[in-house]
């Protein structure tokens, strides 16, 4: 290994050598591209109702069949992927921002504020997520935006713990002490000196968090509390699949497969990044 290479380049190098991580990356990219260019990939309009072709199994003109209103399942899945990914990214964004903010304060200042924040983490972790999500959804009414907010508000604990641990170990290091000796403000030290050096564990948790958020969204929509029909998301498609399970297996099988493949991609990629960042794995 060339010593002059940057940390990022080294990490990328190790990531590319990890076959599972590469597979994960390809899956993530594939789903991402298909979702962004949904109008190009979807063979039909996802909301065009065709009552002459209701609940038809997979065939040449409808590769994944049609639903109970004759809509093309493949097209609905492609558009639904867009919604599911959006929810995943925004929810993880919210969770990560909250987590970084609270974790940084907690780790940097310590003392009573640290205890207060860490006890809040304990409280949040003791309550089943699904309960909080259900209760909050009942207040806010189910909609795409609210789902993103709710998932974000109930999954900031892991990033907060990770950032706190990074801050505790970094704040005693020479470069931080030097910055504070030179009169840098707390805000500047936190944002410019400590945070950039403590972000790598967050990268792993955010990558895997996207998979987790997509799973949670699908579970909520499946229960009828997330994305509402007729808007397609993978979870809401599965929900209508459940109602027709005895007559139309394809309505359940394919959207679930899409969730599995996408979440698998993020999990493989996240685990790969974790290994690539871990110096013990580099021999």
């Amino acid at each position: 290994m060339n010593n002059t290479e940057s940390f990022t380049a080294q990490t990328l190098h190790y990531l590319m050598k990890n076959r599972l991580a590469v597979i994960g990356g390809i899956l993530v990219l594939l789903v991402f591209i298909i979702s962004i260019f949904a109008p190009l990939f979807a063979p039909y309009n996802p909301s065009t109702i065709d009552i002459r072709n209701i609940l038809i199994g997979p065939n040449l003109s409808h590769p994944l069949g049609t639903d109970d209103l004759g809509r093309d399942v493949l097209s609905r899945m492609i558009w639904g992927g867009r919604i599911s990914l959006e929810v995943g990214f925004v929810a993880v964004g919210i969770a990560t921002i909250i987590g970084i903010f609270l974790g940084a304060i907690s780790g940097y200042y310590g003392g009573w504020i640290d205890s207060a924040i860490m006890r809040s983490v304990d409280i949040m972790l003791s309550i089943p997520t699904i309960f909080l999500v259900l209760a909050v959804i009942a207040i806010l009414e189910p909609s795409i935006i609210n789902i993103m907010i709710v998932i974000g508000l109930t999954s900031w604990m892991e990033p907060a713990r990770l950032i706190r641990a990074e801050f505790i170990s970094l704040k005693e290091r020479e470069f931080v002490i030097a910055a504070s000796a030179m009169g840098a403000s707390d805000g500047r030290i936190i944002l410019r000196h400590v945070l950039p050096n403590g972000l790598s564990p967050i990268l792993v948790s955010a990558t895997m968090g996207i998979g987790g958020a997509i799973l949670l969204e699908s579970a909520l929509s499946f229960l009828g509390l997330g994305v509402q029909p007729p808007t397609p998301s993978w979870g809401s498609l599965l929900s209508s699949g459940k109602d027709n399970i005895e007559i139309a297996w394809w309505l359940s099988a394919f959207p679930g497969l899409a969730i599995l493949i996408t979440v698998l991609g993020y999990n493989l990629l996240g685990e790969g990044i974790r290994d690539a960042l871990d110096p013990r794995q580099r021999e």
């Binding site: 699904i130 309960f131 599965l238 599995l260 979440v263």
Partner: protein
């Protein structure tokens, strides 16, 4: 050690209070409440009757008073009555608990039975074909939506092959069965729910056992055991396994909230009248007493699990006690 235990136990009090305040607050912020919960059964109730019900359940009081009243009763283990039917929360829970416990204990047994050997084998044969295969399985297990798996199995075993029932916990005519018939009937109904609940845990547990095993195998005392000529079996199954399984037990405590959450979805799919379904219904219909009666004991058990795990760590690792 004793001071550590006391300190750690005292810490549980504010956390428990926080849990009750947060969940009570979230429940009360939402529109709807006792009056609305009962109105489902008597849609034509007058505004006056509504007001009377709100008074009866204290919903007209300010938040902190409601909370204080609730807490006062709760600490004496008086969970109150469910708004929907006026029955005691305790009775409703005790009636639902056995089925959820049965499913989760059976699936936990299944998980441990399969995950421990798999974890050991893939750790002792790291990077072997078996290890690669289980690693892939673990990732797929983590990524599979459990309700989707449930749907697929319902379709295959229930609809396509017709060999397993797809919903409920007993056949409609099961009252006419003999005792043995009832038991097999119930077992039949539980096969899919138990398998689906076990599936997700299987991946996590086997990974966990594997990683712990790998960690332990790197320790000096394992090298010492080998160096003094002990057979590989003794080294692995007596020296390594014991230390590797210790933290696995603590994970059981931590997985409790997940079990309750998982039961809510799983019981919904299979139409099982258990705790998960009861929690789901109570939250959705704003039945505070019922929801809190399920949630707070569950959160308390989770905390207790955490507590015992920390005490366990402190016993084995003196460094923990100092912090």
């Amino acid at each position: 050690m004793l001071t550590y235990i006391i300190k750690r136990a005292l810490l549980m009090v504010p956390i428990l209070l926080g849990i009750t305040v947060l969940s009570f607050g979230v429940m009360r912020l939402a529109p709807g409440g006792p009056a609305e919960a009962q109105m489902d059964f008597s849609a034509k109730a007058s505004a006056e009757a509504r007001e009377r019900l709100r008074k009866l359940y204290g919903a007209d009081q300010p938040f902190y008073k409601q909370y204080a009243t609730w807490l006062n009763k709760f600490v004496t283990l008086d969970f109150g009555v469910a708004f929907a039917d006026g029955r005691k929360v305790k009775d409703k829970i005790l009636e639902r608990l056995p089925i959820t416990l049965t499913i989760n204990l059976l699936s936990l047994g299944l998980v441990l039975l399969i995950a421990i050997p798999i974890g050991i084998l893939s750790a002792t044969r790291q990077y072997s074909l078996l290890d690669r295969f289980t690693t892939m399985f673990v990732f797929i297990g983590f990524s599979t939506p459990s309700f989707w798996l449930a749907l697929l199995l319902i379709y295959l075993f229930g609809v396509q092959w017709g060999i397993l029932p797809i919903s409920g916990i007993q056949s409609l005519d099961s009252t006419e069965f003999s005792a043995w018939g009832k038991l097999t009937d119930k077992a039949h109904h539980l096969v899919l729910p138990v398998f689906v609940s076990a599936f997700g845990g299987l991946a996590g547990f086997s990974r966990y056992v594997r990683n712990n095993m790998l960690e332990v195998m790197r320790q000096d005392y394992i090298r010492t055991a080998r160096a003094k000529g002990l057979s590989e079996n003794v080294v692995i199954y007596q020296h390594a396994l014991r230390n590797a399984l210790m933290p696995v037990i603590t994970i059981l405590g931590l997985s409790l909230p997940g079990i309750i959450g998982g039961s809510a979805i799983m019981e919904q799919v299979f139409g099982i009248p258990g705790m998960g379904q009861l929690m789901f219904q109570s939250v959705m219909s704003r039945d505070y007493n019922l929801a809190m009666g399920i949630l707070v004991p569950a959160a308390f058990l989770t905390m207790l699990g955490n507590f015992l795990a920390d005490i366990g760590y402190a016993f084995t690792d003196p460094r923990v006690r100092l912090h």
